[in-house]
Symmetry: C4
Subunit: 301 residues, 4 copies
């Protein structure tokens, strides 16, 4: 019985808290707040802070029980690097799609009164009373098809490049607990520097899930028609950009860790530790434990 | 004599610095500044920064001598999780109510001239010269009763879910000193994404205490009548949401820590530490101390 | 010869980099930028960020060679707590006064063109083209004398209370390098919640130094006459508030560290460390070193 | 074959990811976004956040394989301090010039549609539809030649002074991973307090590279003529200011580390460690390892 409950809660967890659910709820909530209050309760920066902080706490909640992937592009990146099994990719992607859908639904629930009042009851994709932009990405008027593609490839490439760099222990240590904060800062970075063309989707599940929700919830098929059938660009381009960014990092940085000499201090420390090890093997009985202690210790650094 | 003084200061401390007094003073002060300066000394974001930073420093001041609860909903959550005695809940809640009342009084004292000048001496709850919103939560015009209830349940559920996650050592380590900062970031998150419906009270004592102060200080019974008798929603809904969030975390994340396999690195470290222990018991006299040293050490990680 | 140079540079350093020079330069610079650009290059928040970040980097520069006092009120607080010799207080205060004067002079140098263009060459204390507010504190129109006194006493009391709390190791640990950042966050807190009455001076040297500079540099005696002779309030009130805040912390928090039971985990660790010590004294020759090692280790935590 | 690929990727990396490429891309991107959206997608603060965050992630990406110099002025500073070989300075400077050029090109690519729409196809250096300011520094109307020179010398001096202070281990420890964040905070500091005269270039490569790009890409020779031939000021002045700041730090802070007594606690720890060492040499065989362990340990602190 308990085992059954655990399995069910595991599944529910897999499709909600371990996904981009939380990020969607906070990010789209921040947009809903600014749009429906007509800018009295926030501005462009607070929306970006919402997107960033939603990711931060999404990772803090999920980091212990899953890798806190939150983005199929990131999962793909890990698959390519051999750090995640390929066969798990479809299910992970699906879970984020479901999570983002549910996140959008929760935002609509929480802002139902506000959206109804703001839009006069008409759920529109374009125009001064449009509310679809709260949930997913639409291109700015000036953006061409190729411009949008380039924007998303460049932005996601940079995003993944940095994500991979932050996780590369050999590139430099990071205190526990700072990593989620820096991923949030990275999303804020994207928001302030690459957000005006099409809202920096970066995440296919985070874009398609809420789009499907708005399709179902009353915004209708316009959500797929708008921007000349824009909807598939933020699904395809991020995968391309993500791969590009990951490979760029691997080729231009990761590949050179072996060939790059360590700093003098690091080398000195390595030599000293080695001496402890060598001495330990020869001299006395208490050494092996010290050896282990020092090994454990050296891992921490 | 000294003992008496200590008891008195303990009591005073219990009803002031160990409560949400500090958070109320900073948070409502930030609102007072923006409202009375008609937006020349801050904007929506600075108010949210005030709420967030008030919590951060409230925790830094109180964390050593109390658990820095600051919110009865959080105390309730800890009671449910068995980490705080139930019988202390009423007194803790009362202390926060008193602390928030005193915080509001201090804000009024500090902004007395500004509020009088801004309002022309009339202390109003609604209208362009309203000042009651500086102190506690009132619903936006668009908000229905059920909408307000949903808003507060959803917001407090997410808030507590994250609070519990941040304290769950098994979900991931957090450097000392980062925890209060992240709680502040969490409050900022709520402010930028769930603040436009009714100002994200989240904390019954923080809302009722200042409301009682404004009732006494001259705003009158309108503070309880406004919004169709809104005042009890931010008292009841947060408890419901807080419970929901806590239980959701326990069921969807905490319950799976046992069933989730540890990372390879963690397992390796555990094995090595065990070896130290096993060896220690067999070989030599100096082992028990090393064993203890390594135990203490391993705790830190 | 080298010794002479060292003494001279020590003296120069004592009156510049080890003072609030840096903080004045950044903080007043941020105000100069917003005022003279008429809000196109920043807003109220960026001024507060400037004040906060100026303090952060002022501390980072000076922390190794002085205690990074930066504020005579803080020095007074340390004197009262017995952590700083009273006889050094006058010289420290003087050095900050000089540092703030030089900081203001540097701001005027850097923004000379901008201030001349903005003000049409007339250096005024009040009116739409006033520029004196860039350098030091003036009361808002609504503020009464007593209101200003209360504002500064309350604000400085809270400020010092938090400063003392952040440095109280027994109240909780803080990672190296986070302390200066939190002092900056504390100044930002004051800026967003207690800045609209009179600009939260908090620091007598930081206020009087730049005021003296503006008096000398062409704003004239109006800098002392404005606000009904306001100038002495931000000198006297912060000392009163600072003392109040320090004593409040000592009485309401510090005094209870002994009487407050530690957390179970802390107690357990203390017991284990004690066992190591006791064992060490009895059993074997290698113990004293382990004892010391563990002592040193325990200090770090 | 692999060796050849490695060399090529090393070279590509040297001229892109290890330079200010990333910082230019994010920083100029943030400006492009605000300018072309006419302020609907950000404001002055978000541009500064872009500049700051671009530096943060530029350092996080490059810190493992290069020193993450990112600025020729910083390289010069390290050369003067004897921490970097002089002969590498020209090549490093060139690489940053190339990186900044490529970063500007990427921004133009990503914002091509937006810039064309905003400017009506005319690439202008001045006027309401000017877009050259997205890429590099131009003086404000009020700024005189000498004013600009002073601004850049003062700003870069302070910037380098802080950079050197943050890296001075003897001035105080900094947790791994916090250093890049603080450099970002430092750039934000410059942006909010010294940005309105001429946009705080601070970095000759970051300014000249994008200027060359705009010259080539269609803005024409006006980019060199504007501001009375301003272009060389942000190239020369930062070197002067950087040297000044570095030397000021060395003379006023670094020179006194030896002569400044350590804190009582630090001294006590030093004495205890010394005792361990002394004891170790006399008493028993296990001491040398403990000695090394404690040495390694003491390094960490």
């Amino acid at each position: 019985k308990i085992r059954h409950s655990l399995i069910i809660s595991q599944i529910v967890s897999f499709f909600t808290l371990r996904t981009v659910f939380y990020g969607t709820l906070i990010g789209s909530g921040a947009a809903a707040q600014v749009v429906t209050s007509r800018g009295t309760h926030g501005d462009y920066l607070t929306i970006q802070l919402g997107s960033a902080l939603g990711a931060v706490f999404g990772i803090f909640v999920a980091r212990g029980v899953s890798g806190a992937h939150l983005n199929p592009v990131y999962s793909l990146s890990l698959c390519v690097l051999g750090r995640h099994p390929w066969k798990k990719l479809p299910l992970y992607s699906l879970s984020h799609l479901v999570g983002a859908f549910l996140g959008a639904a929760t935002v609509y629930l929480q802002y139902y009164d506000a959206i109804q009042t703001f839009s006069g009851g008409e759920l529109l994709v374009a125009g001064p009373n449009a509310t679809a932009g709260i949930f997913c990405s639409y291109p700015a008027d000036h953006l061409s098809f190729w411009g949008g593609l380039v924007d998303q490839v460049v932005a996601t490439a940079l995003f993944l490049l940095c994500c991979v760099a932050l996780e590369d222990q050999r590139n430099g240590p990071l205190p526990d607990g700072l990593h989620p904060v820096l991923v949030g800062a990275l999303i804020l970075t994207m928001g302030v520097s690459m957000g005006s063309n099409c809202g920096f989707p970066l995440n296919p599940a985070r874009d398609l899930g809420p789009r499907l929700f708005t399709f179902v919830a009353g915004w209708g098929e316009e959500v797929f028609k708008a921007g000349g059938g824009w909807w598939w660009v933020p699904i395809v381009a991020p995968f391309v950009g993500g791969l590009l960014g990951t490979l760029t990092y691997e080729l231009l940085i990761e590949a050179h860790h072996q060939t790059t000499p360590q700093s003098p201090q690091q080398e000195q420390e390595a030599v000293e530790l080695e001496e402890v090890v060598v001495d330990s093997g020869n001299n006395s009985k208490t050494h092996p434990k010290l050896l282990k202690l020092s090994k454990i210790y050296s891992k921490q650094k």
